[in-house]
Structures are given as C-alpha cells and as structure tokens.
Symmetry: C2
Subunit: 205 residues, 2 copies
DNA sequence: TTTAAAATTTAGGCGTGCCTAAATTTAAAA
DNA sequence: TTTTAAATTTAGGCACGCCTAAATTTTAAA
C-alpha cells in the first residue's frame, strides 16, 4: 500500500523535477519542511520500491514509475484547488486543503470532479482570475459584477434589470446544477435563469 | 490534534449510540474491525481526553463533547455520500470513499458541498433512491430512464424524441452548471437543454 | 592541496495505533 | 455454589514516519 507520506514525497520530487530544481536530499527536505535525515530514510525506501534512483550524497532521479505517480498526485492537487475555488472556499485556504485532499481522492472521483470544474470555464480568456460565474457563488455570498459574457443582447437585457458592471449582488438562493437563482440587487429580489447567470461574471466578496 | 483514528472511534460509538446498541468494547471493536485489545487502549485514551466515560469491563458513555464530535463526523460522512452520489460515483464505492473523506473535509468545505447537494434534490418524493437527474451523469456514463418529472407536456415532448422510461441513454458530453448535454439514444445523437435534462431521471449504470 | 564549512548519512529515540498471547474478570450453566 | 465459557484487559511487539545529535563525505576557499 502506498502511504500518504510516500505520495507527498513523490509529488514534491516531481514538482522540483518539473521546475528544473535539483532533486537533492536537502531540497526535498526543505520543500517538505522535514529534517534532512528524515528525507534520507524515505528516499532509500522509495528507491527500494522502485520509484527513484538514489545515489548517496548525490540526490535522486525519478524512474518512469515515480514520475507517473508524482504526476498523478500533482494533478489531483490541482483539480482539487480548482474545485475548491469553484465552491467559493477562500483563496487563503485553498492550497492547504488541496494538499490534504489530494491523498484521499480516488482516481474516479478526481476524474468526475475534473469534468465538473472543466465544464465550468470561468471562460473569457484574459479575464481576471478571481472572477467567477455568478452560478459559482453560494447562498448568502456577495459579489460585484465584473463583466457580462456573451454578446450585446445579453448585456442589454441584463442592463435593463440593473445588472451592470460594478453592481453588487447577493445570492439568496442558488443550487447545484439546476434551477434559477434568487438574487438581491439594490434591495430588490430577482429570479434569473442559470443560463443567464452563468454569463454574469463576478468578483466574490 | 485530533487524529483520524480518534474520529473513527467517535463516529462509530456515536452511530451505535444513535442506533441504541450497547457501546461495549467488543461491539466497538467489531464495528471497526479491530481487535478488542486495541479498542480498550483507545477507549482509555478517549476517556482521558474527555470524549467519554470508560468503566472497565462495562463499556463507555459519550460525554457531551464526545457526542458533538461524533455527530459532526457522521454528518460529514453523510454529506460526502450524497455528494459522491450526485457525481455519479458507483454505489458500491460510495460508502467506503465517504469513510475516507469524512476525515479530510474541513468544516467550511462540508458546508459548501452541503449547500450544493441540497439544491440538487433528486426530487420526486417516493422516487427510488438510486435515481438521479440526467444532468448528474458524467461524460461517457450510461443510464436507463426511470421516469420523467414535471408534467404531461414535458413527457410528451421527450417521448417524441424517443426518450421514454426504460430507454438507455449514454451521455456523450455534459458539463458542470451550464450548456446543453449531448446524449446518445438508440444510436442517435441528441442535444438537449439542461433544463429538460434535469427532468429526466435515470438509474445510472 | 589542505582545510574548514556545508551537505548528507548513521544511530538512537519517540508517539501512534495496530496485533497476538496470556491473564483476569464477569456471566451463565450445572 | 461451583465451574466453565465469554468478555475484557494486560503485556509485549511491530511498522511508520518523524526527530536530534554525532559521524561522515563532499565542496569550495585559502
């Protein structure tokens, strides 16, 4: 059985490798905030298990198996980060939570979540990255309209409702996947469809 | 710091308590598939930490603190089960995965997911519980139509497309939150809107 | 090339949570 | 009430993964 610690090491080593940083005992230990002596132990063990080649005093090189595994975990990490963002988890917590979750998400769940968050493209290329579709906000959350995606017509119709950039919106009632959103704008409550809502991009507060 | 094992014990004990089963060393050990001797050790520890009262040879009683903690973990477990179901994870895996995840979902993430899955009511009261809206299936998944929600009109229009109960559907392309679904029915590919799709209830395969 | 500093490894320990085998206590049958 | 079976605890161990301190090796400066 592959332990959480093994995964953590492989992910870290893969990260360094990807960044072109030398995969030495010290670098790995530093990255993991662990004593170098602890890293030595683990690296020997990983070598024995065929994840990497270990040359004493010289650092390590991932084998194909090691790369594959490290990459997989890194991918889980990234998918979870995206997912947490979609759910409106504060940025400050996202990395740490993803670090934890990456070890407990089985492959098929990662795939399922990946498909979900991919479908949810915060879209317009070049858009500020802290902007999300209105549909991503949770009940009670507030956001400020950043822009409206998808053509003149949409913008015009929304403007008629008072939904223009810089307007503050509070989500009263949303739901996952379907059904209209109930929102509050300048003291007025509005119901808007999901299709339209997904084209309103807001900066969450 | 509360360890995963401590959580597991508290959840289990709370479960037994909820079910009215005696919280004896043996019952707890059996439930956790652990040797009774191991349970004794842990129960002593939990008593020292104030989660329960331990009387040798007589079993344990949860304190208020123990109940609170056990309940919280059980709730996380249940929310995760629901969430996994929503994502189309096969039933056979749901319980086990939820068991794992419950220990790694921070409170706020559990709350966020809870709101999402609550919005996604597999609806019609009395409906078989393994039935989900078509929108819950992932790309490539197959399902068999169980029934159509929402009135004659909808049923009729869908029937015209060949979408009637017992028909098998394959989802070709779906996405989170928005956009139409591309599905395959009897060899034909169809595009249907999310609104309609959310009213087609299927049993996932 | 020698030598001191830096990097790395070895040795010895700690806490957690599990296990088995052997005692001990409790419960129930004779 | 005695005796035996079942439940429970005690004792002794194991694997993990971390740590510090002391040894060793490498590197780079003099």
């Amino acid at each position: 059985m592959i332990t959480e610690s093994v995964e953590e090491y492989l992910e870290t080593i893969y990260r360094l490798y990807e960044r072109g940083v030398a995969t030495t005992t010290t670098n790995i230990a530093k990255e993991l905030k662990v004593a170098p002596a602890s890293a030595t132990q683990m690296l020997k063990k990983l070598a024995k298990q065929g994840y990497l080649k270990y040359t004493p005093y010289r650092g390590v090189t991932l084998t194909a198996k090691g790369k594959r595994t490290g990459k997989e975990i890194l991918r889980k990490h990234r998918v979870m980060e995206k997912f947490l963002g979609t759910l409106g988890i504060p940025k400050s917590k996202i990395h740490k939570e993803a670090c934890e979750l990456e070890h407990h998400i089985p492959h098929d769940l990662e795939r399922a979540i990946y498909q979900k968050v991919e479908g949810e493209k915060p879209l317009p290329p070049g858009a500020p990255s802290d902007v999300v579709p209105l549909t991503s906000l949770l009940d009670g959350q507030k956001g400020v309209i950043s822009f409206i995606g998808g053509g003149r017509g949409a913008s015009q119709r929304l403007a008629d409702l008072g939904l223009t950039p810089r307007t503050e919106i509070t989500v009263i009632k949303s739901a996952l996947f379907r059904g209209p959103l109930l929102i509050s704008v300048r003291g007025t409550t509005l119901a808007i469809g999901r299709g339209v809502a997904s084209r309103i991009f807001v900066r969450a507060k």
